[in-house]
Amino acid sequence: MKILSKNGDTIELLASPDEEPLIRGDYILITDGGRSLLAQVIDIEYADVPGILEDVLRELASEHLSIKNFDPYGVGSILLNVRDSRRIIAKFRGVIVDGSLRNDIIWLPSRFNSRIEKASPELISELMRTCGRRRIVVGECMSGMVSIYAEDLDGRLTIITGKKETGKSYLTKLLITSLAEYGATVVVFDINGEYIGLSETVDGSVSRMAGRHYVLTPGENFRVSVEDAGLKTMTDILQYILATPATTIREFIRIWSSVERNEGRVTLRGLINAVSRMQMHESVREALMSRLLSLSETGFFDDENPVRVEDVLNSGSGGIIVIDLSKSIHQTKKIIVEYVLSKLSSLLREGAIDPLFLVAEEAHLYLRETYWDDLVTRMRHIGIFPIFVTNQPDSIPETIYRQADNIFLFNFTNESDLNYIAKASRVDSDTVKRIAKMLPPRHCLIIGRIVNDLPVVVRVREVELRAMGETRLLFGKRRGS
């Protein structure tokens, strides 16, 4: 390999076709004297060889001819190498001086005297290492294992994205089980029932998560009291989810106070009774009654035997609490999420629970718009650290990408999806577009603090937990059909 050019942060190298094959995401080390320049391969193209059009046209025209060569000096094989030479496009990641990676040094290695070689996985691991103690082995990179640290997810905003069936859920499970093993609490909004099987391994035996995995199914083992939800949460549900007019909300607040004062506690039944007997405009009565009956029909509210979220969260030293939204209808999902987020916020503010990770898969389906900014600003500060998982990158607001600390990016082929993700501020758009487009399944590009801002392509390791959430097929197993 030889350096061809450097333009901005893009370095182009010429390589012979018989050199060691490179993969997008591989790191190369260009050493000259005591310094080394670290660059990451983002693409490989044919070199712009002089007269190549003429050569290719000649070859094309010769395809039907019988051509023999007497080539006494073997120039033909060299010529083949010249014509097939590669242009490697790489991104500048820094200069290694005295073992540390620095971006502030202006230095270029010699084009002709530099030694260019593939960087070792040990070096990359060393350079991407952050200050952590809780190691999570995520997979393989450049023939070596890659680890990240749980501390780099702590207090951070993380996004896991990629198109369908590329391995997002595998990685999510790997991360949350590792976090739970280190004693963290992880709340998962599970819309497809993908996380309910974490207590079992793929072969059906009990997994290591068995004692730390709780599945809360709304309407079954997860019912809450109206009083526990509180007036604020209930008015939010009425206003944002059930589209209740402002005048009706005002009437509801009056009724809430009246029930609380007269009956000593607020229940859904008490509210319904009050609405039916108190004096108010008939249209308001009708609007409130229909909405309270809707809430009652969700089965999520049970004033007699409610589950206390803080009891579940404090029942052990960390664990995965899966809120199974897969059986709930669209509106009920939103009501449950509204309740959970509101409850978690108040519990954290009161110091009743420890900070936790919140996994929100396809959050646009159940998260009201005003919550996005709330999640990445206010809620983060009180101790909710979101991990968004989505296959529709444009469903997450652009501002969230800009503030994301860590991104696990799986394959995307759609240009508009890639353009959207490329707005993430922690990496250049070329890297995102060129690498993500070609990632094979189960491979992801990790960007952000978690890798010390040194993007790495990782083949996510196998998780022995029961996957669940696979697509049910009409014709049985695909391979056998």
Partner: protein, 365 residues
């Protein structure tokens, strides 16, 4: 721009088994170049060991040789009465056609001499289809000391060349390429029989690059094997006459030939044309070429077979174009040859870069 109207295909697709096939199918294959060029390769390889520092040259397209004639003679010729001979295509015999061409290039200039690359192209069309044989590139480092041994090695151990007359001057590239081309022609006429052999240039003999004995020897080897040689010159001044000898003036329609041997015999002072010379207009339009012929059949019969057996592009045999295409050097060929020489220890500099290093940015030329 290549116009379809300028591509003529008088030839028809024949089937194996028709008359004349067996002699074509029995043609030997071209596979013993290592033996034929053994002395030349040995001397060439030795010469490359002498290369150390060399300046790579700018790639330049091959220049075609021009005939150098007095224009006054053309004016005289204009007054003469000439007639065209029509080429009969109906009933013409389909024959094997073999075209030979060579190309050469200066790869680099060393301290003591020049590094030349030479490659031959042989295109064969017969009942079986089309075959291309590329021969080379041969690479030699020519210095004043080894020039005689290199040129001599082309023809084996006992070359009938007057080696003392060859010098390392501006014409040496053309001389070496021409001698190697003649050697290839000699080899081909010996290998094939009953074929039309197409060569590039003329059958003029005399200068150092076309010794009379050598051209004569090629023609002598061709005749007993039933081979007919047609030498097409792309850039002869004879072509100028095609604008004088128009179809109307001649009262003929292409394809036809005009015998110009009498004129050439009067005009060519320094060289001797072995064979007869024609101005051949084989397709409509202005394209006409000087064709020197040495045949053992009637000339119009040979041209008829050529038209039956090969396609024409602007009145020029397609097979000769193919032979040319497959021997010419591209920029990548030069890069590859230089890479090969580097493996042998040669070092290359770009002449321009030395100048830039010394004088730029002050000197902008």
């Amino acid at each position: 721009m290549l116009k379809l109207s300028n591509i003529y295909k008088h030839r028809e697709t024949s089937k194996i088994g028709e008359a004349g096939d067996m002699s074509q199918l029995a043609q030997p294959s071209l596979n013993d170049f290592e033996t034929v060029f053994k002395p030349f390769l040995e001397v060439g390889r030795r010469s490359l060991g002498l290369v150390n520092g060399a300046y790579s040259t700018e790639f330049d397209e091959e220049n075609f040789a021009q005939n150098d004639w007095d224009l006054r003679l053309i004016e005289q010729a204009e007054q003469l009465d000439v007639s065209a001979t029509s080429i009969p295509i109906e009933g013409a015999v389909d024959r094997q056609v073999v075209a030979i061409d060579t190309s050469s290039i200066v790869v680099a200039v060393g301290r003591d001499g020049i590094i030349l690359g030479i490659r031959g192209g042989i295109a064969i069309r017969n009942m079986l289809g089309l075959e291309i044989q590329r021969v080379g590139p041969f690479i030699v480092y020519l210095t004043p000391e080894n020039i005689t041994s290199i040129l001599g090695s082309i023809f084996g151990d006992l070359p009938p060349l007057d080696l003392s007359s060859y010098q390392l001057d501006g014409s040496i590239q053309k001389t070496l390429a021409s001698l190697l081309e003649k050697r290839l022609q000699e080899y081909v006429v010996k290998q094939f029989k009953d074929s039309i052999i197409l060569v590039d240039g003329s059958l003029s003999a005399g200068p150092q690059d076309n010794p009379i004995w050598l051209v004569s020897r090629i023609l002598e080897e061709a005749r007993p094997r039933g081979n007919d040689i047609l030498a097409f010159s792309k850039t002869s001044i004879l072509q100028f006459w095609s604008s004088i000898f128009t179809d109307d003036r001649l009262g003929a329609k292409p394809p036809y030939i005009i015998d110009m041997t009498w004129l050439i015999e009067r005009l060519e002072m320094r060289v001797r044309v072995l064979g007869r010379t024609f101005l051949a207009r084989l397709s409509s339009g202005l394209s006409a070429y000087r064709v020197d012929v040495a045949t053992c059949r009637r000339v119009e019969e040979v041209f008829g077979s050529l038209l039956k057996s090969d396609s024409l592009i602007y009145g020029y045999p397609e097979l000769l174009i193919l032979a040319h295409d497959y021997c010419t050097f591209t920029k990548n060929d030069v890069i590859a040859i230089q890479a090969m020489l580097r493996k042998l220890g040669a070092e290359f500099f770009r002449e321009d870069s030395i100048r830039d290093m010394l004088f730029n940015p002050i000197d902008r030329r």
